[in-house]
Symmetry: C2
Subunit: 421 residues, 2 copies
């Protein structure tokens, strides 16, 4: 069933009815589906809920993430934008066009209310997830939008990590929007229409396309491979790990009443990590597996077992050395080495043309959702940037963003409204 | 069935047997399939044939195109590269890894023979199509590789078109490689492994990802939409149009015996066309449809009928003006306005981050295959660049390449071998 078919159906039963049938997979408070979903319904991820879609949603195949700078100082204009974006995100995620008349059926002498390139495509499991960067709260030393004291303490300015080579035009942003879908045209359409709706109020600061997911967020998914050719995210927190989500991903109410609006939200860390794939590709298989700490074919820990076997960091080989080296990535990134903290990763492979030096510009667009970046991202990244041979020799961080991701939206509400009330 | 499954099967029956079963759709001399292909076999496009795959192959969903500069002056090294690339392209298009041991099963103290990120993925209808730019024949006024007199006359230096804003790092290249697949990771893997194999002999000059196809090349496909939100390529030459292919797409033997190697080949024109989508999005639906000459919803000509109805350029409205305006894109691009010439288009939508001015950098990566660019591309593009309001006001060409695409490869041969014998 196409987007058009869905529209026709919506005309009969109301779009809400469709969304209701397709619900049940993703959010805390989901409805149980009355019947097995048909293929088109299975393409629709519910928008409303106590958490935003796009975090524990089974990771879709493609990403388009963008960061916007808010150019107005008018609090009312910002709230109108968030209301308009909420309505547009809800419509697009349900396979509808933005606005009331769409791309092709509106008044002929006005610009269309949708840009049209998703006409005829399915919703492709689109999710649109919003986060607020530090720049929304204060910029150039001035508090913005009357948000005095409302910036969460966890929304820090990330420190400089050794080896960082961050480009300003790939970093920061007042509002970060993650659009994920199984069809990239649907994800691009979503970001593009938000930019269109925000014209005059926001500017695109950076945007990043990810062509292949590098994490699974559900036990129903196979572990994908990154551009080092290795399985990535084997130990990721999955949607089914409710206790781990509560412990490591969902933000609490903070220490101050001014932060209560973030309860049930999360913090999004995005890092554009260039991989030196040409050097990697000339490294021996032994060296590659040693750096990762897993086999290339199956992703099994070098201490033995299969992909999901627990690594045994103490086990030594005949030579008396640990089978998983002291600087192997799997050891450095493991919870046991990081005070037990874990994250929900949701990254993507990227390729952005060439680097002007005869190589592809390619790597990993790292995305993670964590309860608090001060405990759940900074210490691990600092340790890896200093000691992990992989990070030191084969990776370069070229972009960075941190955003406070508010909880989900209920019908009639708008994204982040707790911040403005 | 996964790539691994396919490998296992190949071990029993030989990869050729699989390719044989899946053949029959694409090339001049295709075999009729003995039985309906299973899904995995349907994911494999035959590599060998009298024409290269990736021209009349039903347009796959995703593109990764790259241009390489050859850094050696050694004719033998160039021929070895072409042999190695041919073997790798054949393997990858059949769902196998490059080399004989692959990414994970080779000698542990050597770099893997494949980079590995396509392990477990299907062939995804991968095609790899090679073309030779003018720089392969001569550079800085010097003939290269002993190819004196072998540069086809049709492989011109494209003229400057009004409004061109070509970036050197997005233009030209000695060898252009088009990888198309339904899975972008498979297309990226193909280009990346060719770059790896060519290390020391070639440098990546530019590379371009296309996320959504904008043309159909088979009557079995629906017409997709470009980032103006309109259906694109309705009048494209399709694989089924054998007479039109012979007339407009397949190159002849040229006027000189030195060009006979191109018979059955074609010429690839690639143009990176930035679209000013923010301006477009603020244009009325009436203006948009007038500029295109078709309706936005269905793609029907403004003279009436349905998508595939022939446009009636003479038909006038009540106001005495032609229903399809004199500068409408459909009129300017139509064969009737261009001495009857047509092309096989194979372009893709692209989005490459932001432009630094608050907008998405997005547009159309135009790809066309033509018999002779002197007759089949330059006149039309010159006229459109001067007169087509769409082209003048909403488009900017930022990259350009022209390549002579040799005919297909037979088993045991290598790409372009007619040029070296």
């Amino acid at each position: 069933m196409s987007r058009r078919g869905l529209l026709a159906l919506a005309g009969v039963g109301g779009a809400g009815a469709i969304a209701g049938v397709a619900a049940g997979l993703l959010s805390h408070d989901a409805l149980a589906p009355a019947t097995a979903p048909t293929p088109a319904e299975a393409d629709v991820v519910p928008f409303h809920g106590s958490i935003q879609a796009g975090i524990t949603t089974p990771a879709q195949d493609r990403l388009h993430m963008a960061a916007f700078d808010v150019t107005t100082d008018d609090r009312g204009a910002l709230i109108r934008l968030l209301r308009d974006w909420t309505a547009a995100a809800e419509a697009m995620s349900q396979g509808r066009q933005t606005g009331t008349t769409g791309a092709a059926d509106g008044p002929y002498d006005a610009p269309p209310e949708d840009t049209g390139e998703a006409l005829g495509l399915s919703a492709a499991k689109l999710t649109v997830t919003f986060g607020f960067g530090a720049g929304l709260f204060e910029k150039d030393g001035k508090v913005r939008f009357g948000l005095e004291g409302r910036r969460p303490e966890a929304l820090i300015d990330l420190p400089h990590f050794p080896g960082d080579d961050l480009q300003p035009n790939r970093s920061g942003g007042d509002i970060v929007v993650q659009a994920c879908a199984d069809d990239p045209q649907v994800a691009v359409h979503a970001i593009r229409n938000l930019a269109r709706i925000g014209f005059g109020t926001v500017r695109v600061r950076w945007s990043q396309l990810g062509f292949g997911r590098t994490s699974s967020t559900s036990r129903s998914q196979q572990t994908p491979r990154n551009l080092f050719g290795f399985k990535d995210g084997t130990n990721n927190i999955k949607a089914e790990d409710t206790a781990l989500l509560n412990e490591h991903v969902w933000a609490g109410a903070g220490s101050r009443p001014e932060e209560a609006w973030m309860q049930g939200g999360s913090y999004l860390v995005a890092r554009r990590i260039r991989m030196h794939i040409e050097i990697w590709d000339r490294t021996s298989l032994r060296e590659q597996e040693g750096l990762i700490g897993r086999t290339k074919s199956e992703g099994s820990p070098l201490s033995g077992g299969k992909e999901f076997s627990a690594p045994d960091f103490a086990l030594k080989g005949k030579d008396g050395e640990p089978l998983i080296g002291m600087d192997a990535h799997v050891r450095m990134a493991h919870a046991d080495q990081n005070d037990g903290v874990r994250m929900l990763r949701r990254g993507y492979n990227y390729t952005d043309g060439s680097d002007g030096l005869g190589h592809l510009d390619a790597g990993l667009f790292f995305v993670a959702f964590v309860r608090d970046p001060r405990t759940h991202y900074v210490p691990m990244q600092m340790a890896m940037a200093k000691q992990d041979t992989l990070a030191v020799e084969y990776l370069k961080h070229t972009g960075s963003a941190l955003a406070a991701v508010p909880p989900g939206v209920q019908p009639g509400g708008y994204i982040g409204e707790g911040l403005f009330t």
